[in-house]
Symmetry: C2
Subunit: 253 residues, 2 copies
Amino acid sequence: MSGSLIVVGLGPGAPELITPEVTAALAAATDLVGYAPYVARVDAAPDVRRHASDNREEIDRAAFALKLAADGRRVVVVSSGDPGVFAMAAALFEAIESGEPSWRDLDIRVLPGVSAMFAAAARIGAPLGHDFCAINLSDNLKPWTTVEKRLRAAAEADFVIALYNPISKARQWQLEATFALLRGIHPASVPVIFATAVSAPQERIDVVPLGDAQPDRANMRTVVMIGSSQTRIIERAGGTRFVYTPRSVGLLS
Amino acid sequence: MSGSLIVVGLGPGAPELITPEVTAALAAATDLVGYAPYVARVDAAPDVRRHASDNREEIDRAAFALKLAADGRRVVVVSSGDPGVFAMAAALFEAIESGEPSWRDLDIRVLPGVSAMFAAAARIGAPLGHDFCAINLSDNLKPWTTVEKRLRAAAEADFVIALYNPISKARQWQLEATFALLRGIHPASVPVIFATAVSAPQERIDVVPLGDAQPDRANMRTVVMIGSSQTRIIERAGGTRFVYTPRSVGLLS
């Protein structure tokens, strides 16, 4: 029996954002592996085995999935968003590199998904329409000095910045420190977008100027996007607005 | 009659990477607007009007689509990949801001898609698994000095870099200049991924060290990804390999 391991991205939440490719992989799985809330999102046949694990156990989870695949199971590892963006795919390859040599020759594939930041951007307009960076704000896996260096480099070069994992119960001060750092580089008027639970029933999107941005608008389901100096707001009737970053900069028009 | 305008991302090419949300929007359209090859990719009913335009006419195309929507048509503007990433969404909002005031209150939505860079990353492993930047290498819409500044900032802060529009018939020297600039910052061993026509029959993915990277491996359908100093290669049987960037950096293990 020949096993396989597929890492899939379920998108930000809504079923209509799951690609047909991922749906087909899920339908062929014998085993689902992942963080419990993501495994619970999958509508699978009763005989499919669900292996739900806690958060922050990515390497153990990946090694477990590899063992199942080596035993001949058709394993699907579920991530939210896109699996290659601060999610399970990198953890899987870390486990492969440090694990059994035979694991690297298993049938292994990664299937892309709609990322949280692109779903969030689409909801509000096109804030990532020009050059941008994605930074994981967690300092669990890198020193805070590295995060600061990257934030400063990105803002000084006028990238739009998307922040993943902006806050958690154990990390409370980092987002405020980020806003303070960016206020030293950007005008206070630069738009900050807090996009929470995008495409889920609890979806909430707030746009505030950098000068007024407070970390308590974010939670573990929030992507924070900080505009560049060029990012613009279009006011609409009814108090709603679009936020976008033009494609051009610094040219005579 | 109430019109609408929806900007959709068709993903990188394969139909199984189009979200059900986009498929539903296409099925309800009366008019399709976009760059000719993307409009041609849509399998629409015979009575749907197709308005295909040339490349580099984004603002005119957006204004045309807005006029159709204002006239009561159900318009879908098609982009490849994700529409918010160097594609039609930003052009649309530029046209809205500079156009008829009534346009901003039309029923306008952006639907995300699977971006070219995430599809490319998934095919080779997880090269974007840590902090990364996306840079449009075209200097049609910004000065080359701005591109250089961003490349330098991104490499010095050790972001992985994804380059969109790396080369065209009219822009031949910029990609070589990019590699030369990055060789002054990164070791020659840093992996460079040339991902061309991902998910299409012509798909080709090459991985070469930065020291050997030549621009002739890229064409207009290529996304180029340059690793950070941490990006790793896993060799597999049969000469294939995975490329990934670990989630952690700079911590004692």
